[in-house]
């Protein structure tokens, strides 16, 4: 993209914003303008609320938005994964019905993939959808569903054919979460927070037109959703950015983001709070202990090296070089860092680290680290699965013999 085009686009959006941006509008009113103009998601197709511009142009356009403090479209939560999936696999009906309300933030979405019986083995889902001649009838349970308790729609992966191998018998649906057959329960974690939900689905219905892509194509569609989930990892930063500005529209946006971010508020503790280690070690005097110093040093080396490894991956990518193994290690590295950090926090603590209330170390924050870290080696793919992926995809090692390649109905599985 030439500088000329960049400047032309910047000028165009600047002019449009000058003409249209009005902090006095309601959030939905403003976002409808964004959808109509295509400036909310300029990289989307022109036919669907975008302007067919390259992704590389987005930061330039965002800069113009920031210049006048203009609010953007709703991006937080699962809704953007829904949008990406619908854009790629949905039909015109889906696009017409859902995309605009995704952008305006009027609808909230959730992802119904994992189940009590299938976490690592996502394709082993046993939630079933049976066609009764008129509608798909859905029965089963879904787990780890963030935001399900206030979602309007769910991206559902369900089994429609039990006689074929497991990946081939899944179909992707859009499920109306507000119907009576959908029952959402919060799942409390061992650290006391309740970030996820369990969704019980009993004879819920999906009209045939809300099937996404072909029957049996569910796994392929789900892969699209997951690919966007991984790609959007840096999206969290954007969500966290608080304009800090006064005014009703900013207030509305803040509220929206706060609702989405609520489940993640303990995530810094889950990552081990490496940033607090030195401070705590000095406070408790444990910094004087030679073996504790060694453990702190190991932690800092591991954590910094992990950070630099991520930067190596990014730098290579920016130079257009093929990605080396360094790009696949982040999750396992983060898990090791968190575990070492939790160990160090225990080593440097006196009994006050046991206290979870205001008498506790850092008002109970350290205790929260200790009970949150076990999640990091599980959520989003266990360490064991990560090691499989690294060994098989990066190092090219052979897969284990499979026991689940026959018709799904014959595959041994969990009874839930």
């Amino acid at each position: 993209m030439s500088n000329l085009t960049v400047n032309a686009v910047k000028e165009e959006v600047r002019a449009w914003l000058q003409e249209n941006w009005d902090a006095g509008l309601s959030l939905v009113e403003w976002r409808n303008k964004l959808a109509d103009s295509g400036w909310g998601v300029p990289d989307w197709p022109g036919q669907w609320y975008g302007r067919d511009l390259p992704v590389a142009m987005l930061p330039e356009i965002e800069e113009e938005f920031a210049e006048v403090n203009a609010v953007g479209v709703a991006r937080s939560g699962i809704r953007m994964l829904a949008a990406a999936t619908i854009l790629e696999h949905g039909n015109d009906l889906h696009k017409k019905e859902f995309l605009r309300r995704i952008l305006t933030g009027e609808d909230t979405w959730c992802q119904l993939f994992s189940e009590p019986g299938s976490g690592s083995d996502l394709a082993g889902a046993t939630t079933r959808a049976d066609f009764d001649g008129e509608n798909w009838i859905v029965n089963g349970q879904k787990l780890w569903t963030t935001s399900a308790h206030h979602a309007d729609y769910g991206l559902l992966l369900a089994r429609t054919d039990w006689d074929v191998p497991k990946h081939q018998g899944l179909t992707y649906f859009i499920l109306d979460m507000t119907q009576p057959g959908v029952d959402v329960h919060q799942v409390k974690q061992m650290n006391g927070h309740a970030s996820f939900n369990q969704v019980f689905i009993t004879d819920a219905t999906v009209a045939p037109q809300y099937r996404v892509d072909e029957e049996g194509a569910g796994w392929r569609v789900a892969m699209t959703t997951l690919a966007h989930e991984r790609r959007n990892a840096d999206g969290m930063n954007r969500l966290n950015r608080d304009s800090g500005l006064p005014g009703a529209i900013y207030e509305e946006e803040r509220k929206e983001v706060a609702t989405v971010m609520e489940p993640y508020k303990w995530y810094p503790q889950r990552a081990g709070r490496v940033d607090l280690v030195m401070q705590r070690a000095k406070q408790t005097g444990r910094i004087e202990n030679a073996s504790v110093r060694q453990e702190i040093a190991k932690l800092l080396i591991m954590s910094k090296s992990a950070e630099w490894t991520a930067r190596r991956a990014r730098a290579a990518q920016e130079l257009g070089m093929p990605q080396g193994p360094e790009g696949s290690l982040g999750k396992l590295a983060a898990s090791n860092v968190a575990k070492q950090a939790s160990g160090v926090h225990t080593l440097i603590s006196g009994a006050d680290a046991l206290l979870t209330g205001s008498d506790g170390a850092m008002d109970g924050l350290i205790a929260e680290v200790l009970v949150s870290v076990p999640a990091v080696s599980i959520a989003g793919g266990t360490d064991e699965i990560q090691r499989n992926i690294i060994a098989e995809r990066v190092l090219g090692m052979e897969k284990e013999p499979r026991f689940d390649s026959g018709p799904f109905k014959d595959v041994p599985r969990n009874v839930v």
């Binding site: 019986g117 409390k188 061992m190 406070q283 046991l354 209330g357 506790g360 200790l370 076990p374 026991f403």
Partner: protein, 372 residues
């Protein structure tokens, strides 16, 4: 040192294990964890009836006069069942303090009641931040009146009396006092901790009447001696808990399917369980050494206690965290029981001094041993 538990002691273990299986399922632990009660009173009454609180108290003070080996057996089983009881406070700490340092009168006054379970004792040493030392102590006593704050005190909210450590100008810098907690100049406040199945409190003393236990200026030595003795008993609890974590993980792995097979058939899980087993077994060997040293009053007690403590801390933490990992996402939920051993392992890894404290003790004990 070479011993096995005797036939009688193994019989006691079977009896204890059977009793706790019947009366202390994880449902009992969960009830305390989730509820407002500090401990399970019904279970406590039964444990007292079994005579466990009287185990090592001499017969002259209405105890059973048994050896510490019996108490180790009981500790291991209590640890295995994750019992939500003030047993360790009252028996390993308060009773031990009286047995070690109490005058004849003090023993006569307190031990029979501790044996019969009619009162519960606790030990109040820590004062919040960091590790307590004679220099850090701010609690002070003047003649027979004691002032200061102690936290966190295990079972401090329900205990009838406390063994309290206070600063003192002479000797090793600390003295020990017996303080009746049911007096008006004592106030207590329950604290939330990482293991809500075991209660903790902050205790404020405002000129509370107190009675010296042992000699003035010998409090620090006494505290270390009690901790050495208790460390062995806690280590047995920890090893019992670690074995529970391994059992939970094994049972789950054998019944949970992924990719068409039980996860226990994957080497990643199988080897994890094997590593847990190896660590548990090694830690237990150290516990045997500790039990021998405690029961024979051997001069090696400080070394044996620290060895048992460090090994038990590591084994319990490893087993309890790998148990969660084996369970996957469900292991991290409130609904599953994996959190009990994990929380307990964290509590017991810090309560009477964390790993580096005991490593230092171990090194010092070894050095002193060499010098001697």
């Amino acid at each position: 040192m070479n011993f096995e538990f005797s036939e009688e002691q193994n019989l006691l273990r079977e009896q204890a294990s059977g009793f706790l299986k019947d009366h202390c399922s994880t449902k009992v632990v969960r009830k305390i964890l989730d509820g407002d009660e500090s401990y399970d009173q019904e279970l406590w009454t039964k444990v007292v009836e079994m005579g466990w609180t009287a185990t090592v108290i001499p017969e002259e003070y209405d105890g059973l006069g048994m050896s510490y080996l019996e108490l180790c057996v009981i500790a291991e089983e209590l640890g295995r069942s994750l019992a939500p009881l003030p047993f360790s406070s009252s028996v390993y700490l308060a009773t031990e303090a009286l047995l070690v340092a109490g005058s004849k009168e003090q023993k006569e006054e307190w031990l029979p009641k501790l044996a019969s379970g009619s009162i519960i004792g606790c030990l109040a040493a820590g004062e919040g931040k960091g590790q307590v030392t004679p220099k850090s102590l701010t609690t002070s006593a003047d003649a027979s009146s004691l002032s200061g704050s102690k936290l966190p005190v295990a079972d401090g909210d329900i205990a009838d009396f406390a063994v309290v450590f206070a600063a003192c100008d002479s000797g090793d810098g600390a003295s020990t006092y017996l303080v009746d907690l049911n007096q008006s100049s004592v106030s207590r406040q329950k604290l939330d901790t990482i293991d809500p199945s075991r209660s903790h409190a902050k205790i404020d003393f405002a000129g509370a009447s107190a009675e010296l236990l042992g000699k003035e200026g010998e409090g620090w030595a006494l505290l270390n001696n009690i901790y050495d003795r208790a460390a062995v008993l806690f280590a047995w609890e920890q090893v019992g808990g670690a074995e529970t974590a391994l059992e939970m993980a094994k049972d789950y792995a054998m019944g949970r399917f992924a990719f068409g097979r039980p996860i226990a058939t994957y080497q990643a899980i199988k080897h994890k369980l094997a590593n847990m087993y190896v660590k548990n077994t090694l830690a237990k060997s150290n516990c045997y050494y500790g039990a021998w040293a405690l029961s024979t009053n051997a001069p090696e007690l400080p070394i044996a206690a620290a060895t048992a403590r460090v090994g038990a801390i590591q084994a319990y933490y490893f087993a309890s965290k790998e148990n969660i990992q084996t369970h996957g996402g469900m292991g991290f939920t409130w609904e599953f029981d994996c959190q009990f051993p994990y929380r307990r392992s964290k509590l017991l890894s810090i309560n009477i001094g964390s790993e580096p404290v005991w490593q230092e003790k171990l090194i010092k004990a070894i050095e002193t041993g060499r010098a001697a």
